[in-house]
């Protein structure tokens, strides 16, 4: 049996060493980790407008992604009334944190990608629930604020091969291209992920078989997420009408 004072000395020395070692490791790796996270998030946002990019994201180096984002993506933060909040960058907004606030006080990130001709694509961020945990995505809209130019989804813990297909299977997000989020009466209906085939060609996409709850989660996420942005969408649509843009 060891004496209590020996045990205390041993444990204190060991934990101090472990703490110093870990602090040192964190200090060394943090800059690289933060950069990797930034690139990862920016790639996810740009995936929504991948068709409009000069070349596929998989062929772009991290440096190219960062410089493209710097040059061609405008960042805005908008509040729930559709007004732009000045002095904030969209990449600093964390939707998971915003969800905890009361609905009226939430802030929404908005990325505007301008292609080589200067045509803007509005990238909205949405967040919802899948089967096991949260799912989220970026929705790129054409300047008419109605037609979807592209989407990208990601998830925390959906089942690979089933729910995770929203991200892993490129055919799923590809279905959303050219769908409309408003119906003919001007109501926001977003896009339905429908089981058993498409009924309404401009608002339906085919669900993933075996992943009903994730599919329903995507529908719900789109409807709620786009509703948050609606005041802003309406504003841009009104501006478009004034300037004669259809």
């Amino acid at each position: 049996m060891d004496s209590t004072s020996y045990i205390l000395r041993f444990v204190l020395t060991m934990t101090t060493l472990a703490a110093v070692l870990l602090a040192g490791m964190l200090y060394l790796t943090e800059p690289a980790a933060m950069r990797a996270e930034e690139v990862f998030n920016k790639r996810a946002i740009l995936t929504a407008v991948e068709k409009q990019l000069p070349k596929p994201l998989s062929q772009m180096s991290n440096q190219e992604v960062l410089s493209l984002f710097e040059k061609q993506v405008e960042q805005h933060v908008i509040n729930m009334k559709g007004e732009k909040v000045s002095g904030m960058k969209a990449e600093k907004i964390n939707l998971a944190q915003e969800k905890k606030k009361p609905e009226a006080e939430r802030l929404l990130p908005l990325f505007v990608y301008k292609d080589a001709q200067g045509k803007p694509y509005y990238i909205l961020s949405v967040r919802g629930n899948g089967l096991w945990d949260e799912i989220w995505g970026s929705i790129a809209l054409e300047p008419d604020m109605n037609t979807i130019a592209g989407v990208s989804f990601d998830h925390k813990a959906e089942t690979p091969g089933l729910g995770a297909e929203i991200k892993d299977n490129p055919a799923f997000p590809a279905q959303f291209i050219a769908k409309k989020i408003y119906n003919d009466a001007g109501q926001l209906v977003a896009v339905n992920v429908r089981k058993g085939g498409i009924v309404d060609a401009s608002h339906d996409v085919d669900a993933i078989s075996g992943a009903t709850i994730t599919s329903n989660g995507v529908t719900e996420m789109l409807q709620r997420g786009l509703r948050y942005y609606e005041p802003y969408l309406k504003k841009i649509q009104a501006e478009n009408k004034q300037t004669g843009l259809k």
């Binding site: 060891d2 045990i7 041993f10 490791m25 964190l26 091969g161």
Partner: protein, 246 residues
């Protein structure tokens, strides 16, 4: 050498001149891969074997992480074994393992952020992996560092080998791919199209596997249990020594 003299005193084995890497060391390294495999014989570490084996890449990264952690924690505990107060030895082992796992996680986050995201909690859960703690308690506390190193690497390899076999079967039959998400991603089974080349074109009526569709069961955790069960069966049919006589 202090290590050898204490070893000789405690176990009363007369130390002879032995080669640095002799028969005993080779046995330490190869035993856990086959006849004393941590998963199929000792039935430890099953939880992570279910979770990270849907694809080859996470399984490979997980294997490397476990080999590193079990080897280096074995060496650390072996070096400290004569100084660790017996009353708190489990806590000391846990601190060592947790420190090493945190280092692995920090390095992986900086080096390959997407894989870090994919493995999410499972890297952290190496801390609770029974294989690591089991080897510390059963081997490192009573053996010199060199042997502990080989034992740690051996057990990590045994764990990794099973993980890779299971991941190979699950990814191949569940998704028709191998190593998806890496530069050497292989598409084995599936319909051929212009963007992706498959080795076996199931859309072609002359193909041997015509009409094969991906097996959804393979991506569910249950499939890993079935495969591990079959592995255990095959191994015991081959190596009769492993069959319980009771």
């Amino acid at each position: 050498m202090a290590e050898i003299s204490t070893q000789a005193a405690t176990t009363a084995v007369v130390e002879k001149k032995e080669p640095w890497f002799g028969k005993k060391e080779r046995k330490l390294l190869t035993d856990p891969i086959q006849s004393n495999n941590p998963i199929t014989v000792q039935v430890l570490g099953i939880c992570s074997a279910l979770a990270v084996t849907t694809q080859m890449l996470p399984a490979l990264v997980m294997s490397i992480a476990v080999i590193f952690v079990s080897a280096s924690s074995n060496v650390t505990i072996s070096l400290l074994r004569n100084y660790i107060p017996k009353q708190v030895r489990m806590i000391v082992q846990l601190v060592v393992v947790a420190t090493l796992v945190t280092i692995v996680e920090l390095v992986l986050k900086a080096a390959n952020y997407p894989v870090w995201k994919q493995l999410s909690v499972f890297i952290g859960l190496i801390i609770t992996n029974c294989i690591v703690m089991g080897r510390l308690e059963a081997f490192a506390m009573a053996n010199p560092p060199k042997r502990a190193l080989f034992d740690g690497i051996g057990n990590g390899l045994g764990y990794g080998a099973v993980l890779l076999i299971v991941a190979f079967i699950r990814e191949l039959f569940g998704k028709g791919t191998l190593f998806i998400g890496t530069p050497i991603a292989m598409h084995i089974i599936g319909p051929s199209n212009e963007t992706t080349r498959y080795w076996i074109n199931t859309a072609n009526p002359n193909s041997l596997f015509y009409g094969y569709t991906n097996n959804g069961l393979m991506v569910l955790p249950a499939a890993a249990l079935f495969i591990i069960g079959i592995l255990i069966w095959v191994q015991r049919a081959w190596n009769k020594k492993l069959v319980d006589v009771s």
